[in-house]
């Protein structure tokens, strides 16, 4: 069963314990200065954004069909059946195509290291694999961040909106965005206010490239035959001309001409 995270901003008190739990699990430094940083970075995989008394988390959405995993030329990024999108640092060559392709601009880079790596939240893959919940969900004192089976979380989110429609924007962010994400968000204020894009299509982005890439085998076979045939035709034409003119024109090709000239 594919797991997921449901973050309900209306229950969030902005305590940032999720940030702290995340930093501990990932072996990252965490202090008051870092806590005050309002953006994701290579040392901060999740952030609680604060606007007046409203809060919103940002973390890797762990897409159902992730762009990053689709574009990675070395398959360092992968979507696991459990839900998390993992990163195998030993494969990464640092092309940063994942950073360009991610519709949420989640992957961050260690720009100041001579041998850098991509850093991002992997939905605590090791913990989830052991049957535990993510570090952020475990740290959350109010249940604003909830871990579970994605389908259950979707029905839970729908229930909450249905029961208290006045508390919520009528939208589960991540239900359909770019084909759905493992992380689902609920909010009382429009998601745009926290920098989330609402113009994302409901179709997984990798399909845009797959539609083109899937034609390549056909293109190669058709092209190979067409080019080979074209060569045969033009050669034959020149051969005939040459036969007529008694092989006098050196600029004309012939069947064996390429092997001589």
């Amino acid at each position: 069963m594919s797991k997921g995270i449901l973050y309900d901003a209306t229950l969030c008190i902005g305590c940032k314990l999720c940030e702290k739990g995340c930093a501990e699990r990932n072996g990252l430094p965490y202090d008051d200065t870092i806590a005050a940083e309002q953006k994701q970075s290579e040392h901060k995989f999740t952030v609680v954004l604060t606007r007046n008394d409203k809060f919103m988390r940002r973390l890797c959405m762990n897409c159902q069909d992730p762009s990053c995993a689709s574009v990675c030329p070395v398959a360092a990024l992968r979507k696991t059946a459990l839900g998390p999108v993992t990163y195998d640092a030993s494969r990464c060559m640092g092309c940063r195509y994942c950073m360009l392709a991610c519709p949420f601009s989640v992957p961050k880079y260690e720009w100041n290291k001579p041998l850098p790596l991509v850093r991002k939240c992997d939905m605590c893959f090791d913990r989830v694999a052991r049957g535990l919940q993510t570090a952020c969900a475990e740290a959350c004192p109010t249940g604003a961040t909830m871990f579970g089976v994605r389908e259950d979380l979707v029905s839970e989110a729908k229930d909450r909106i249905a029961k208290n429609p006045e508390n919520y924007v009528n939208h589960i962010f991540g239900l359909n965005e770019v084909g759905g994400t493992s992380v689902l968000l609920l909010s009382s204020v429009p998601f745009e206010e926290f920098g989330y894009r609402t113009d994302l299509s409901g179709e997984a982005l990798p399909l845009l490239t797959y539609r083109v890439l899937s034609h390549i085998p056909d293109l190669v076979t058709i092209g190979g035959v067409a080019l080979g045939g074209l060569w045969w035709l033009t050669n034959r034409k020149n051969e005939l001309v040459r036969a007529e003119h008694g092989n006098s024109d050196p600029t004309l090709g012939g069947r064996n001409d390429y092997a001589k000239s």
Binding site: M93, G94, P116
Partner: protein, 392 residues
């Protein structure tokens, strides 16, 4: 050995290479953060936009001309095939060098060859570029075999030419277009003036235009600087073909803009507009208008000027896609740091330097082995028949 003469361009070349060497030290000791203006919001900059995307594009002369000579059998173009294949080969080597700078961990550049992800456009590009570089090196090998008189190998190479050329054209078609496909996955990030589902088609068509323009440019340059005889009739024919190719490209480009209804985005105050207009002027209108004038397209300087404008136009196009078109989404401007620029300059300069050296020491422009010579059976003991008199 006499010491080389000191000329203005040689001094410039040495300076560029020295600054480039210093920038290289900075890049590999301090990392990408210190040596580039790249950031999490702007992960691809000059090295991808110019060195890689334009580098591959400018090497398109290789497949355009080999297809013309060997597939379409227009043998009269044969005299310019060696410098063109050399340029393409150099182009791909320099693209690889640039990638070693741009990749966070360049020493893993071979990973895509063993760690597969066939769903990735970049994976496909990596394979195509690797295979095509191999094809180019084999196509170019005849020059080396001829220079050092490996005639058995030379004959083997001649036998393989047609399959090699067909493979080369296929691989080029695939990766030239795939450089455009790289951006298909960012419909929300790339500005709609440049984002279109037909990016791969546009990239392929423009590669053909650039291939033709580059061949004209390079033949003219060689005539100017290496005292080589200019094949004006050939260049005229290339110029006419370039006019047709540019026409097709422009029509497809305008149809696409029209069908997607994005003209309203060309507003005076938007920062994308001037660069879009510049690009269209340079890669479409100016060279097309020039080449439509018979006086220009039949004249060596006219052809040279048209090809230079066309090349600048498509370089602008690639930079617009890689940089200008991504700035709005990133919410920040990107301008390359001095280190990025000087390394790029050094890579381009070494390209010119290697080309000049190759022309000096290899039979690039000289007449090829007399055609009947290879038909002569080789004498025993590897002794060379009388007919082999290669000027070297």
């Amino acid at each position: 050995m006499q010491s080389p003469k000191i000329t203005f361009w040689r001094v410039v070349l040495v300076l560029i290479l020295l600054v480039g060497a210093y920038a290289t030290v900075v890049r590999f000791t301090k990392g990408l953060g210190a040596s580039t203006n790249l950031s999490d919001a702007f992960p691809w900059g000059l090295w991808v936009g110019f060195d890689v995307m334009c580098g591959v594009m400018l090497a398109a002369g290789g497949f355009t001309l080999t297809a013309t000579v060997y597939i379409l059998n227009l043998r009269e173009f044969k005299p310019i095939i060696r410098p063109t294949v050399l340029t393409a080969f150099l182009g791909y080597i320099l693209v690889t060098v640039a990638l070693l700078f741009d990749l966070g961990r360049g020493y893993r550049i071979w990973h895509p060859l063993v760690m597969w992800n066939p769903r990735s456009v970049m994976f496909e590009v990596a394979w195509c570029v690797t295979l095509y570089s191999t094809v180019l090196s084999l196509e170019f090998s005849s020059v080396v075999f001829e220079r050092w008189r490996f005639f058995k190998l030379l004959r083997l190479q001649k036998m393989l030419v047609i399959p090699l050329v067909i493979a080369g054209v296929m691989l080029s078609t695939l990766h030239q277009s795939s450089l455009g496909s790289l951006y298909l996955i960012v419909p929300n990030k790339l500005h709609p003036l440049w984002y279109t589902p037909i990016l791969p088609v546009l990239f392929f068509l423009s590669a053909i235009c650039v291939g033709l323009a580059m061949t004209i440019f390079e033949s003219s340059m060689s005539a100017r600087h290496f005292g080589r005889h200019l094949e004006l009739p050939l260049l005229r024919q290339l110029g006419r073909t370039l006019l047709v190719a540019l026409g097709v490209y422009t029509v497809v480009r305008f149809q696409d803009l029209l069908h997607r209804g994005v003209w309203h985005l060309l507003q005076w105050r938007s920062p994308e507009t001037p660069l879009f207009v510049l690009e269209m002027l340079l890669c479409s209108f100016a060279p097309i208008c020039l080449l439509l004038i018979p006086k220009v397209r039949n004249n060596a300087d006219g052809l040279y000027l048209s090809s230079v404008l066309c090349l600048l136009g498509f370089v602008t196009n690639r930079l617009n896609i890689a940089i200008t078109g991504m700035e709005r989404y990133a919410g920040q401007q990107y301008f390359p740091k001095w280190t990025e620029i000087s390394i790029t300059l050094a890579i381009v300069a070494s390209g010119f330097l290697i080309f000049a050296l190759a022309v000096k020491y290899l039979p690039i422009f000289e007449s090829e082995v007399p055609r009947q010579s290879l038909a002569v059976p080789e004498t025993a003991g590897g002794k060379l028949p009388e007919l082999y008199h290669v000027e070297s």
